[in-house]
Symmetry: C2
Subunit: 325 residues, 2 copies
């Protein structure tokens, strides 16, 4: 099995279908802005997780394509509303929705992405309706709670590493968890199997987010498309930062405390902070945690009987934690 | 049967349960703002419609209380997001959510109201899951489309009366339609019966909204809690305005066209516009349309076999179109 080819096969099917969602709907004042974000290019990781999870559980991916589209819509709903809250001007090199249009249009386009997500989910939910819709709704609730904690942490002076893990579990991992669950549910898998895929998605999601924090600091800005050290400039209390703070003393600690008071640093200070993160072992600890969560994720995959389909998820895990963007 | 007593019985049960939704949930940064709007006093019309509709179809209202709460959460979700889009500072005499907190908090609290609405709906949906959740989702989609049309009409020079009816059907009536459907679905009613209750809710909703426009102009500001003529000051193209425009000529027409260009009028001009609406027959036409839509609504109630329960809906219809706030 060629991982890239298989991933691309899933992704291309999603891409083909997702372009059809909005253009035919009226009013255009609502659905054109929604289409602007939904059609913009991306990895389509979440719908691919749904399809691959259904596939691995022996299901037919054609019977969960609408559910796969629904998670991508849910994901885009969070992007649109988060970008307003975060005052973000660009996403993937394009103007964010509230910049291209205005805040009102973006709020409403986000709402409609969520509404149409439920419409699509219900097309596939059928007899397994209750469980699939519950799983989706739990994912939605967690992502709202995660975003709220993220905003709360921006204002708080002190945040524990464990609180940070709770936040990213809700904000990032819960949706990947839900995608893996959804595929298995719609494929008619048994409860214990669904649970293992659910655990896989959550652990993968946590590893994915810590990796994201690390990429922001160490990644090549030409491949990430983001400014290197952007989290530091914005004053984000990431896993790296909180770990460094916990492990630091003396001058390093004072610098990190100043970072909190000043809500971030200047671009010229990034390399000094990278050194602090190195010295305090925060970078090493991040790498260790990424390995730890993805190892648990890999173990969670043991329920997948088909070797080739199991290997797809193995490679997916490796590709996400090795990724450069 | 005493209508007021019965309404109040439904309303008090909703009030009792709705206060329990958010206080126990964490994080408080998300759910306290959501509770602020959900707990603020109101008519609770939409959940009462769910309960009364289930009751009239022979169902047990205890088996659809969560669904009733879910429609009130959906309604409050729309209020929170609409208030941001409309730049509204107060609602029911209290500061709106984005004024009391900030826009980010209000966007997210609105999102969480919708998320928890689905959670509650699913508690009651059970075996009838698919249909109830579809009905709810359609209501949600229509309310987004209606709000989008409303914002679009603010920017457009020309809007037809029929387009206005489409807009209020989606923005206001679709949710009342859904509430009546939901009660009947959860009570296990037959398709034809559900359809009639659905039609009732929609027609009632259209009458309700035209009445709302009329109240804004003619209502007593001490009982409505809104400034009299607020729609005129804000430049809203209401049923009254669009009808007056269609029927006017000469100086009246020029004034109405100036209203569009200037996006509204001064407070001192309200009584002159009231006279134009009177002269052009717009007020008479509004009253006629309210009667027409509520008459159709009353006919839609013929499916309700129990005389007392049918009369409750009759009286509800009368009370809404005679209301002063």
């Amino acid at each position: 099995m060629d991982f890239d080819r298989t991933y691309d096969l899933y992704r291309r099917q999603v891409e083909k279908e997702i372009k059809k969602v909005f253009p035919k709907r009226k009013p255009g004042s609502l659905y054109m802005p929604a289409d602007y974000i939904l059609s913009s290019p991306g990895k389509r990781l979440r719908p691919v997780l749904v399809l691959a999870s259904a596939d691995a559980a022996g299901g037919d991916i054609n019977t969960c394509m609408n559910a796969a589209l629904s998670v991508e819509m849910l994901h885009n709903f969070t992007l649109v509303h988060d970008d307003i809250m975060d005052n973000a001007d660009t996403r993937r090199g394009l103007p964010t929705l509230h910049i291209k249009y205005d805040i009102s249009t973006a709020i409403l386009a986000g709402d409609s992405l969520l509404a149409i997500a439920y419409e699509y989910l219900l097309k596939d939910a059928g007899a397994k309706g209750g469980r699939a819709v519950s799983s989706f709704t739990t994912g939605l609730i967690e992502v709202c709670e995660g975003q709220s904690l993220d905003k709360e942490f921006e204002l708080r002076q002190s945040v524990k590493v464990s609180e940070y893990i709770t936040m990213i579990t809700k904000k990032t991992a819960a949706m990947m968890q839900m995608c893996c669950e959804l595929g298995a549910i719609l494929a008619g898998a048994k409860t214990a199997y669904i649970q293992r895929m659910s655990d896989f998605g959550r652990n993968l999601g946590i590893a994915f987010q810590i990796q994201d924090d690390l990429l922001d600091l160490l990644g090549d800005s030409t491949s990430t498309g983001k400014k290197c050290g952007g989290d530091l400039i914005e004053g984000k209390k990431t896993f790296l930062f909180l770990t460094a703070l916990k492990n630091s003393e003396g001058a390093d600690r004072r610098e990190l405390e100043l970072f909190i008071r000043n809500k971030g640093i200047q671009e010229s200070e990034i390399s000094r902070f990278r050194d602090i993160f190195e010295r305090t072992g925060a970078i090493a600890k991040s790498k260790k945690e990424i390995i730890r969560y993805s190892s648990i994720a890999l173990e969670n995959l043991n329920g997948i009987k088909n070797k080739e389909k199991r290997e797809f998820f193995h490679e997916l895990t490796f590709s996400l934690i090795k990724r450069e963007k």
